[in-house]
């Protein structure tokens, strides 16, 4: 599918239909596979940008959130205040200091091994990381560089609860991310 304005708009509607039905976060690669008419993965991001802008401009109750190459269709964060039924789905607990520090390190780090969390906090963080994984606030993915290790990322559930559309829009994101990138624990 080439990239005329109109074709992008058609693809954006198709993506919206898939995101709506699927509900869960979905990768760009998978979207391209489901919509063969897209012409390939490279055509998906412009259509997602178009969809995001259309939702925003038309004052839709829905919006797009993303993490890396995954996207999800969700409700607009500010509507939580006027829709009663939304509140019950939430993470109601307060964050302990350990949980808050760990979430902050992972979310600003983008994707970090547990050793980074341990090193910055100065304490073994295996239990708090596990706790956050079980609660669904963090995700893990196999570390490509190390056999049995994992890297940790903020989950979509966390992004939704924080009301941010992607980690990059968090306050001071670039600054803190750079600090974390420069700061690697010894192996």
């Amino acid at each position: 599918m080439p990239d005329s304005e109109e074709k992008i708009a058609i693809l954006s509607a198709a993506i919206e239909a898939v995101l709506f039905t699927y509900g869960e976060p979905i990768s760009i690669a998978k979207l391209a596979k489901i919509i063969p008419e897209s012409g390939g993965p490279e055509y998906i991001p412009p259509a997602i940008a178009n969809l995001t802008e259309r939702l925003q401009k038309s004052k839709s109750g829905l919006t797009i959130i993303s993490r890396g190459d995954e996207v999800q269709l969700v409700t607009r964060p500010d509507l939580r205040n006027i829709v009663d039924s939304l509140i019950k789905e939430e993470f109601s607990e307060e964050l302990t200091p350990a949980a808050l520090e760990t979430l902050a390190i992972v979310i600003y780090g983008g994707e970090v091994p547990r050793s980074t969390v341990d090193y910055i906090r100065g304490v073994n963080s295996s239990f708090i990381v596990r706790n956050l994984l079980v609660r669904g606030l963090l995700d893990r993915t196999a570390d490509p560089k190390r056999g049995n290790a994992y890297r940790y990322r903020p989950s979509f559930a966390l992004l939704r609860h924080l009301g941010v559309d992607r980690p990059e829009t968090l306050a001071d994101y670039a600054k803190f991310r750079d600090m974390l990138l420069k700061f690697a624990p010894p192996n």
Partner: protein, 238 residues
């Protein structure tokens, strides 16, 4: 379970260190770290009976670094090895970055806490297909054997969580034993001076020795004298 609870509630050695530094309104420098070392050791001493051994181990690691820094500031002759210099700089860098992520008002943590508490949040919805049709789609991988393997994998990972804890415990016993051993040796040869006592010893032994001096001082088993700032320390048995 108690360890889980303890680690959730307890913010750890860097948090304590930061608290001490902030109490004194000091910048994060070697001199400041040397200044708060005693307070840190005092806290550790008071807590050591009640702290979980795993957490105590985390504290001891930082205590050893602090003592290294303190000896560097107090004993100007002491030249540190490359590795030790790295350890000193590393602790400063870690504190700087921890200060930003610390739950005690670090700006990154404050940002996240702010988003967490705001009344804005988005919601998703699970896959719409649920319950709409009866399907059975096992795929090609589902056999009694793959299920058994999967169960074995799960429990292997679960059991692996436990040894990690016991390994930490072994390390800490070694640290504590080493200190005790050094203190005995030190008590025998007490009427001496620090420089002589530590001559030809490795840096880590010098640090451990310094830790021993502090302990004995605290127990009032020795008295110390230092003629001038950065001068040699004379040690006397009481």
């Amino acid at each position: 379970m108690t360890y889980e609870v303890a680690t959730e509630r307890f913010s750890g050695p860097l948090d304590k260190l930061l608290e001490l530094i902030e109490e004194e309104k000091l910048p994060i420098t070697e001199v400041s770290l040397a200044k708060v070392t005693d307070g840190f050791i005092k806290f550790l001493d008071a807590q050591s009976g009640t702290l979980d051994p795993n957490i105590l181990a985390d504290f001891l690691v930082i205590a050893a670094r602090l003592l290294l820094i303190k000896s560097k500031v107090l004993i100007p002759d002491l030249t540190l090895s490359e590795e030790e210099e790295y350890e000193v700089k590393d602790l400063e860098a870690r504190l700087e970055i921890y200060r930003i992520f610390a739950a005690r008002g670090g700006s990154a943590s404050s940002h996240i806490a702010g988003y967490w508490e705001t009344r804005n949040a988005s919601f998703g919805r699970p896959f719409l297909f649920i319950g709409s049709e009866t399907v059975f789609l096992p795929g090609n991988r589902l056999t009694p054997e793959t299920i058994r393997e999967a169960a074995a994998r799960v429990f292997e990972e679960l059991t692996a969580l436990t040894p990690e804890t016991s390994k930490i415990k072994t390390t800490i016993i070694t640290i504590e034993e080493k200190i005790r051993e050094l203190m005995e040796r030190f008590t025998r040869a007490i009427n001496s001076n620090f420089r002589e006592l530590t001559k030809n010893h490795s840096r880590s032994e010098v640090v451990a020795m310094f830790l021993a001096v502090l302990h004995l001082l605290k127990r009032q088993e020795i008295s110390v004298e230092q003629g001038e700032q950065f001068g040699d320390i004379m040690l006397k048995k009481k």
